[in-house]
């Protein structure tokens, strides 16, 4: 199993202001690289009260300068503005990250679609059309595109004639096939992931009890013959003592209040323990190992993206949880029969 850290969004919550939130991301990702995490992730949301990062590429680009090995996953919103902006950002980002980019487009929510003055009824089609443009733009060949929303090149009156009828987006990504994973946080995303045979990320909004059906549905719909990697985002907190939910439950629940407000989730956060039971990985290292093992045995998890930093959490608390996870939990999943002596240290 591979492990990721994030997604981060630099929300300003409680005593942690925006500037410190960005510093925490940077320091946490440097630590993650040293602990052997495989990936680190940044996300974006628009027009929020807590200052959620509105540009996942800008945040990830700063991380690229601070690290040299960890893969950097970006969760940008696709389908609102012209897709070539995202195509250019992603290609530039893959270059400045020296080929470490993973691009995982996610869906806009209602207030974002309205803010960009996009017709909500057209959004899903715009998302798919944008995805097609991205693949063309990142290819090694000049391209043209004619779709319901965008025509590239537009060949507008008054412009110098484009004699080739094509556009070449530059620079090209370093990676010959830029990894594209799709957020399966909405039905359209799951359907497109299966259609294109792309790895699907199931997120925090999907409880453990709902995962099996969604992955089975992917398998039934896809033409892909080699098994697609299964990517899961989970809220993770590791603590050696006490009742760990007391240390992070409020911040954990706060995320789900946001999801409900944004229309990504319909549920109740009043019983934090019940909410956590179906979707959080939490406890001592032994308990956390057991919870991940259960998920893995049920679903076969390839990449577990761990959201270990809850907005407002102080940095030392994050370091403690990450360090326990990196030292006590991750090695167990490198090999199924790892000798206990190695875990204990010899």
């Amino acid at each position: 199993m591979r492990f990721g850290l994030g997604p981060f969004a630099a929300e300003a919550v409680g005593k942690v202001g925006a500037t410190e939130a960005y510093e925490i991301i940077s320091d946490a990702v440097v630590l993650a690289e040293n602990l052997g995490f495989d990936s680190a992730w940044t996300a974006e949301r628009y027009f929020t009260r807590d200052g959620y990062c509105p540009s996942a590429f800008v945040a990830a680009s700063a991380l690229a300068a601070r690290t040299d090995a960890i893969r950097l996953g970006v969760l940008p919103i696709l389908g609102l503005s012209h897709p070539l902006y995202l195509a250019e950002d992603a290609a530039t980002f893959d270059n400045l990250a020296a080929g470490r980019a993973i691009i995982a487009p996610i869906n806009a929510v209602a207030h974002e679609i309205a803010g960009y003055e996009v017709d909500a009824g057209e959004y899903a089609d715009r998302f798919q059309e944008s995805l097609d443009v991205l693949f063309s733009a990142w290819s090694a060949r000049p391209f043209h595109h004619q779709g319901a929303t965008w025509t590239i090149p537009a060949q507008l009156d008054g412009h110098t004639e484009n004699t080739t009828g094509t556009v070449t987006v530059t620079p090209k990504p370093v990676q010959f096939e830029l990894p594209v994973w799709l957020g399966g946080f909405w039905e359209e995303g799951r359907s497109l992931a299966a259609h294109y045979g792309l790895p699907m990320i199931l997120g925090a909004v999907t409880g453990n009890s709902a995962l099996g059906e969604l992955w089975d549905h992917y398998d039934a719909r896809t033409h892909r013959e080699i098994r697609a990697p299964r990517v899961l985002i989970r809220d993770v907190y590791v603590s050696a003592h006490g009742n760990p939910l007391d240390e992070c439950g409020e911040a954990f629940a706060r995320q789900f209040d946001n999801y409900r407000e944004w229309g990504l989730w319909s549920g109740d956060t009043s019983d934090v323990a019940a909410l956590a039971a179906d979707r959080m990985i939490i406890g001592t290292p032994e308990q956390v190992i057991e919870q991940i093992r259960e998920l893995d045995e049920a679903h076969g998890i390839d990449h577990l993206i761990c959201r270990m930093h809850f907005p407002g959490m102080a940095f030392p608390q994050l370091v403690a949880s990450m360090t326990l996870f990196g030292r006590e939990v991750m090695p167990v999943f490198k090999m199924p029969d790892l000798p206990i002596q190695i875990l204990r240290g010899v």
Partner: protein, 342 residues
């Protein structure tokens, strides 16, 4: 006079090809060198759909610079604002100013290549009105106001209040646009000193007419600058590189005009060569520290108070670049800073 260093466009040209990932790694290294030498800022430049991989995503590259440095300011010189979605740009500006803790100098220009507008489905003829609207959106975002009545509030607000906006001032209209808003300006490397002075005066006059205080406005200019201990070596090593660079871009993009205002391209090689020669002989500051100091003081005398020194000429080695940057910082910058204080 203050000095920023420029311009990084991440180009792998026919005459000086380099892997793009290598160019970006050098951007981080060059930024750290600039920071250590005490430069105020390092400036990026944007174009798109061009064979050499010219940087199309300034804000992402700025995020990378932010991660590589702690004090150096990050200049966009310039982001082609009318080619973008103004909300998306304002969001990127906010994110970059946050991730850099208030180090963004946001320069914007109209853009002029038809192919760039056309690829994005935007009419070039609408660029001036798109510029005005986008500047309104940026102002609203910076103030935490809805971008228009009933529109969204862009979040978070930038660290700086406000983020300095520099308008590329190529024409009288652009200078007036900046002056009405009291924004900083960046004059072109195609303006000679006299023309630069006229545009500074035009700015001040326009600002007065609109009741805008121009006391603290930064009148910046782009200048090709190269400092070497030996004038002969500077001439021999840098002028041919600069000439080739100018001819390729000016010819390919039809940026300069002839005396009748017609765009110059490869089809008029002799006029193109003369235009490039004019930039090199009249506007560039290439030579010993004394020569460069004299040229910068001449600019200062016509009212320019900031220079983006274009020492990054694409084709020189990092060692050559860093040496020239060091001489500019150590031998030239203190001398021109003193003239301001005197």
């Amino acid at each position: 006079m203050d000095i920023g260093i420029g311009l990084w466009g991440m180009q792998s040209t026919r005459s000086a090809p380099v892997a793009h990932a290598t160019l970006y790694r050098r951007l981080a290294e060059d930024s750290q060198v600039a920071e250590d030498l005490g430069y105020e800022s390092l400036w990026l430049t944007e174009h798109r759909f061009w064979y050499d991989g010219y940087l199309p995503s300034l804000l992402a590259a700025g995020g990378y610079m932010a991660g590589a440095t702690t004090r150096l300011r990050i200049g966009t010189g310039c982001l082609l604002l009318p080619q973008h979605d103004p909300i998306r740009v304002a969001q990127g500006v906010a994110a970059l100013d946050q991730v850099s803790n208030g180090r963004l100098d946001f320069g914007v220009a109209l853009g002029y290549r038809d192919e760039e507008f056309d690829g994005l489905g935007i009419h070039r003829k609408e660029r001036a009105q798109r510029m005005e609207y986008a500047l309104d959106v940026l102002a609203a975002a910076g103030a935490g106001r809805p971008i228009h009545y009933g529109g969204p509030v862009i979040t978070p607000r930038p660290v700086q209040d406000p983020v300095p906006i520099w308008v590329a001032a190529v024409s009288d209209a652009a200078v007036k646009r900046a002056a009405r808003r009291g924004l900083d300006i960046l004059l072109s490397d195609a303006h000679d000193d006299q023309r630069a002075g006229e545009l500074v005066e035009l700015y001040k006059k326009t600002a007065d007419e609109h009741g805008v205080d121009s006391t603290n406005v930064r009148f910046g200019i782009l200048r090709y600058v190269w400092v070497d201990d030996s004038a002969a070596r500077a001439e021999a090593e840098v002028v041919p590189r600069l000439r080739s660079f100018l001819l390729e871009q000016l010819g390919g993009w039809r940026y300069l005009s002839d005396e009748n205002g017609n765009a110059l391209g490869f089809e008029q090689p002799e006029k193109l060569r003369m235009a490039a020669e004019g930039v090199i002989r009249n506007n560039a500051a290439i030579g010993t520290p004394d020569t460069v100091i004299r040229k910068l003081r001449a600019l200062e005398s016509v009212g320019v108070n900031f220079v983006v020194a274009r020492s990054h000429l694409v084709s020189q080695t990092p060692q050559q670049l860093h040496h020239a940057m060091e001489l500019l910082a150590r031998e030239v910058a203190p001398a021109v800073a003193t003239t301001r204080k005197a």
